[in-house]
C-alpha cells in the first residue's frame, strides 16, 4: 500500500481540528487549567486525580470519546490522522482526561478481532472509559511482559498480580489487563470496581495525569471478558502499538507547540538590557531549534498516523520514529521553555511548569527516545549479537 500525498488529511479532518481547537480554547484556558490541577503545590501532597468530568461529558456528546471505535460498533471511527490531530489539540491545552487511555484501549480492542472485544468496543461507544493495564514493575513496554497471571478455565478466568504504571486509572470504568497464563499472554476486560481490584495511586510529577498500580487479587471474570485469548493478547498489543505511539507523540507535539508559542510571546515582550530578550540570539536561535524539532516530530506523527490506515506494513517503523523524535523534542522544548521564562518560569504561578511536567511524563510513557531508536535499529540494521 502507499500513502496519500496529503496524509489523507482532508476537509473533514480540518473541520474536526478547528472545532476541537475552538472548544478547548474556550473550555480550558491556562488559568482554568491551573485552577483545576494546580491548587495544591505541596511536593508531599497526597496523590490526586483532578479532571473536569463535565467537559468529558460534553466531549462524549460530540462523539469525541469514541473516535477510535469503528462505526460498526457504534463509535465515530475516525482515521488515524483525524485522531492524531485531535489529540494534538488536547496536548496543546494539557487536557486531563481519560481520552488517551480510552483511545488506546479502542485500538487494542479493534486489533483483538474477537466478539468479546467487539462487545467491549460497544461499551466504549456507550460512553464507558477504558484504560490499559499492561506494564510490569520493570516498566517494560514489550507485549510479552507482565506481572499479572491468569488461570483460565472453560467459563472464566482468574487474575492475580499487579499492573504498574496504569494511566488515568482513577478515571476509567474498565481495564484491559495483560495477563500471562500457561498458554501465553491474554487480554482481559476487568471492571474497575470488580471485587479484588485495588487501585493504588502513584504520587507523580505530572499534575495533569493520574497513574496507579492496579492490584488484582483473585479477580474472576467471565469468559465473555477474555478479549484476546491466551497467546493472542501480545499480538493484539503489537498490532495496536503503532497507533498508541503515534497518539502519545501527537499529544507531545501539541504541548510543545504551546511551549513554543508561549516562549516566543514572552521573548517578544520581556525586556532586559533595553531589548526584548528575543533580540538575543542566545534566546532566538534555541527557540528556532524548538520549532525545528517540533516540525520534525509533527511530520513524523502524521506520517505514522497515515501509515496506520494506508501503509500498515510501515506503521511500526514510522511510529518508532515519531515517538523517538517526539521524546527528544519534548525534553529540549520543555527545558528551553522554563529557561527562557527566567525566574518567572521557575514559579508555580507561571503556567509553563504544567506543560513541562506533562512532557516529562510523556517522554517516558510507552518507551523513551533511546528505546525506540534501539527498536528501530533492530528493524533496519538487524539484531545486536554481542554487547558491542
Amino acid at each position: 500500500m502507499t500513502q496519500p500525498k496529503d496524509f489523507g488529511f482532508g476537509v473533514e479532518e480540518q473541520l474536526l481540528q478547528t472545532e476541537a481547537r475552538k472548544f478547548f480554547k474556550k473550555q480550558l484556558d491556562e488559568l482554568t487549567l491551573m485552577e483545576l490541577v494546580g491548587g495544591n503545590s505541596d511536593p508531599h501532597r497526597d496523590s490526586e486525580c483532578l479532571w473536569d468530568e463535565k467537559m468529558w461529558e460534553q466531549m462524549a456528546d460530540l462523539g469525541w470519546t469514541t473516535m477510535a471505535v469503528p462505526e460498526a460498533f457504534g463509535g465515530t471511527g475516525m482515521s488515524g490522522v483525524a485522531v492524531a490531530s485531535f489529540i494534538e489539540e488536547t496536548g496543546r491545552v494539557a487536557l486531563p482526561s481519560p481520552l488517551m487511555a480510552t483511545v488506546n484501549s479502542s485500538y487494542v480492542l479493534s486489533a483483538c478481532g474477537t466478539d468479546e472485544a467487539d462487545s467491549v468496543l460497544k461499551e466504549i461507544a456507550g460512553d464507558k472509559t477504558a484504560g490499559l493495564a499492561i506494564t510490569n514493575q520493570k516498566g517494560s513496554w514489550c507485549s510479552m511482559d507482565t506481572d499479572v497471571s491468569a488461570v483460565v478455565t472453560e467459563d472464566k478466568a482468574t487474575l492475580n498480580g499487579m499492573a504498574w504504571f496504569v494511566q488515568d486509572a482513577r478515571k476509567v470504568d474498565l481495564f484491559l489487563v495483560k495477563a500471562e497464563s500457561e498458554a501465553g499472554i491474554g487480554l482481559y476486560a476487568v471492571s474497575a470496581d470488580a471485587p479484588g481490584v485495588t487501585i493504588l495511586p502513584d504520587s507523580i510529577v505530572d499534575l495533569t495525569r493520574d497513574q496507579a498500580r492496579v492490584n488484582f487479587e483473585g479477580v474472576a471474570i467471565g469468559a465473555d471478558k477474555i478479549v484476546a485469548a491466551p497467546g493472542k493478547g501480545n499480538l493484539a498489543l503489537d498490532a495496536a502499538e503503532p497507533a498508541i505511539l503515534t497518539m502519545i507523540s501527537a499529544d507531545m507535539c501539541g504541548a510543545a507547540e504551546w511551549q513554543l508559542q508561549t516562549t516566543v510571546a514572552y521573548a517578544k515582550t520581556r525586556m532586559q538590557f533595553e531589548r526584548p530578550i528575543g533580540f538575543f540570539q542566545a534566546v532566538k536561535h534555541p527557540v528556532v531549534n524548538m520549532m525545528i524539532m517540533i516540525d520534525c516530530a509533527r511530520s513524523l506523527v502524521f506520517n505514522a498516523a497515515c501509515a496506520i490506515d494506508h501503509e500498515p506494513e510501515q506503521a511500526k517503523a514510522a511510529a518508532h520514529m515519531a515517538k523517538a523524535a517526539a521524546s527528544d523534542m519534548a525534553a529540549f522544548c520543555s527545558g528551553r521553555s522554563v529557561q527562557y521564562h527566567g525566574g518567572m518560569g521557575f514559579t508555580w504561578e507561571c503556567f509553563v511548569h504544567l506543560f513541562f511536567k506533562r512532557q516529562i511524563h510523556n517522554q517516558v510513557l510507552f518507551g523513551d527516545a533511546a528505546y525506540h531508536r534501539a527498536e528501530l535499529a533492530e528493524m533496519l540494521i538487524g539484531p545486536l549479537v554481542a554487547g558491542g
Partner: protein, 410 residues
C-alpha cells in the same frame, strides 16, 4: 515509502506516464569521467561535455522547464516540473549542469525581467545553450549581502561596473552572470540594483576569473573581477534601487522556497542524495572501528538511527507543507529546508568518519579508503554547505524573525 499522489491533476498523471516512458529509453549512459558530488563543483570541460547534452535532451523532451511558459521555451504546464524531477530522481539520472541558471537566474528573470529579456534568456537557460553564474557575495559582503560594494555607475544609456565578486561557481563556463551592484552609497538596502552581465565575451576585457581552491583541494569556486565593464541599461532587472527585492527572489528560489520549482534531475534518487543517513547503515556493515564491526556498536547504531529519523522527519515536513490544516505558516517549513539539509548532511558525514574508525584518515586517492574517500570529502564540503547561500546562523535569524516574529538581531 512511496509518496505517489492520490490527487494529481489529469495533466500531471498523464505527464508522469510520459516521463516514465521517455526516461525508460533516454537516460544517458554512465559518465566517462567521475562526476563531482554537486553540479556547482564542475571544473572540467569533459564533465560539461557529458552533462550539457543531457540537459538539452531533457529540455527537448519537456522534462526541463515543464512549468515555464511556452513563449520562453518552457513546456507551458502546471505543477509538472515536480513530477519530472521525481521521475528523473527515481531512475537516478545525472544532475543538470546549468544549476545556477535554472535555480536562480531563470525565476528571477521571469519575475523581474522585461519581456525582451525573458524571451532572450530563458530558452537558452533551459536548453543549456548558455551557462550562468551568480555575482552576489564579495569579500566583505558574505552573510551581510546588502553591504555589497561592487559599483555600477550610470553612463548615459549604459552602466559601468567596477568591483569584485567571490564564490562564483561555474564562472569559468559561464556566458552570463546575474549580479547585485551598488548604485547609491548613501543608503544600504535601497542603494542596490540588479543586472545581467555578459561574462564570456568580456574575459580579458573588463572581466577576469580566478579559480579559488577549497579546503578539499577541489576548485569550482572563483573570484570574478570587474573593471570598467560597460553594459546597456536594458540588462537591468527591475528598477534602480530595487535590487534587494530582486535578490530576495533569487535567494528564496536558491533556498528551495520560491514559487517556481527548479528543474532538478537530482543526480540520484532522493534517498540516495549526498548526506543520506540511510547510507550509513551500509557503511557500518562494511566497517570495522577500533577492531570491532561498526554495525554491532550500540552507540553508533543509536546515532545512525537518530539521524535517519531526523532526515525522515525533514522529508515528511516537505510533504506536510502542502497540506492545509497541518501548516499554520507556509514559510515555517520552507525556510528550514536549506538549514536542515546542510546541517544533517554535516552530521551524517561526521558520523560516517566515526563509523570508518581509523580508515577515516584515508583520503580520495587511497586505495583502501572506504567508498573511495567520499565521506571525508563530504564532511569537508559540508562546511561549504553550512556557510554558502546563507550561513546556518543567518538562516536561524531569518526563521526567528520572519516566522516567529522575534525582534531583529542587528
Amino acid at each position: 515509502m512511496s509518496e505517489k499522489g492520490k490527487k494529481e491533476s489529469p495533466e500531471q498523471i498523464e505527464f508522469r506516464e510520459y516521463c516514465r516512458e521517455w526516461l525508460s529509453k533516454n537516460t544517458p549512459g554512465d559518465p566517462p569521467v567521475r562526476l563531482p558530488q554537486m553540479a556547482i563543483e564542475i571544473t572540467t570541460q569533459a564533465e560539461m561535455d557529458y552533462l550539457v547534452p543531457w540537459q538539452k535532451a531533457a529540455w527537448e523532451a519537456g522534462l526541463c522547464g515543464a512549468d515555464y511558459p511556452k513563449a520562453y521555451g518552457g513546456g507551458g504546464r502546471t505543477g509538472c516540473q515536480l513530477i519530472a524531477n521525481e521521475e528523473m530522481q527515481r531512475v537516478g539520472t545525472p544532475y543538470f549542469p546549468n544549476v545556477i541558471a535554472l535555480g536562480m537566474a531563470a525565476p528571477t528573470i521571469l519575475h523581474h525581467g522585461s519581456e525582451e529579456l525573458k524571451k532572450r534568456f530563458i530558452p537558452k537557460i533551459l536548453s543549456c545553450e548558455e551557462i550562468w553564474c551568480q555575482g552576489f557575495s564579495e569579500p566583505d559582503a558574505g552573510s551581510d549581502l546588502a553591504s555589497v560594494q561592487t559599483f555600477a555607475e550610470r553612463a548615459g544609456d549604459n552602466w559601468v561596473i567596477n568591483g569584485q565578486k567571490i564564490w562564483t561557481s561555474l564562472a569559468t563556463f559561464s556566458s552570463w552572470m546575474i549580479i547585485l551592484c551598488r548604485t547609491d552609497r548613501s543608503v544600504k538596502h535601497k542603494g542596490l540594483t540588479y543586472f545581467i552581465v555578459p561574462i564570456e565575451s568580456y574575459i580579458g576585457k573588463g572581466i577576469e576569473v580566478r579559480p579559488l581552491i577549497k579546503i578539499t583541494g577541489e576548485t569550482g569556486f572563483n573570484e570574478v573581477f570587474l573593471t570598467d565593464l560597460e553594459i546597456p541599461d536594458k540588462y537591468r532587472l527591475d528598477d534602480v534601487g530595487n535590487g534587494w527585492s530582486v535578490a530576495m527572489t533569487t535567494l528564496i528560489h536558491e533556498r528551495g522556497a520560491g514559487p517556481m520549482v527548479t528543474p532538478s534531475a537530482g543526480g540520484r534518487r532522493a534517498d540516495d542524495a549526498p548526506g543520506n543517513a540511510m547510507d550509513l547503515i551500509d557503511l557500518a556493515r562494511q566497517s570495522e572501528r577500533n577492531g570491532r564491526p561498526a554495525a554491532e556498536d550500540p552507540v553508533i547504531r543509536d546515532r545512525m538511527i537518530e539521524l535517519i529519523i531526523r532526515q525522515k522527519g525533514f522529508r515528511q515536513s516537505i510533504r506536510r507543507v502542502r497540506v492545509k490544516g497541518l501548516v499554520d505558516n507556509p514559510m515555517r517549513i520552507g525556510l528550514q529546508g536549506k538549514l536542515l539539509f546542510t546541517e544533517i548532511a554535516q552530521e551524517v558525514s561526521a558520523l560516517a568518519l566515526e563509523i570508518e574508525g581509523a580508515a577515516s584518515t584515508l583520503f580520495m586517492n587511497d586505495e583502501n579508503a572506504p567508498n573511495k574517500g567520499q565521506w571525508p570529502l563530504m564532511y569537508l564540503n559540508s562546511y561549504g554547505m553550512t556557510i554558502a547561500a546563507g550561513t546556518s546562523e543567518v538562516l536561524r535569524n531569518i526563521l526567528g524573525e520572519r516566522v516567529l516574529g522575534m525582534p531583529k538581531t542587528k
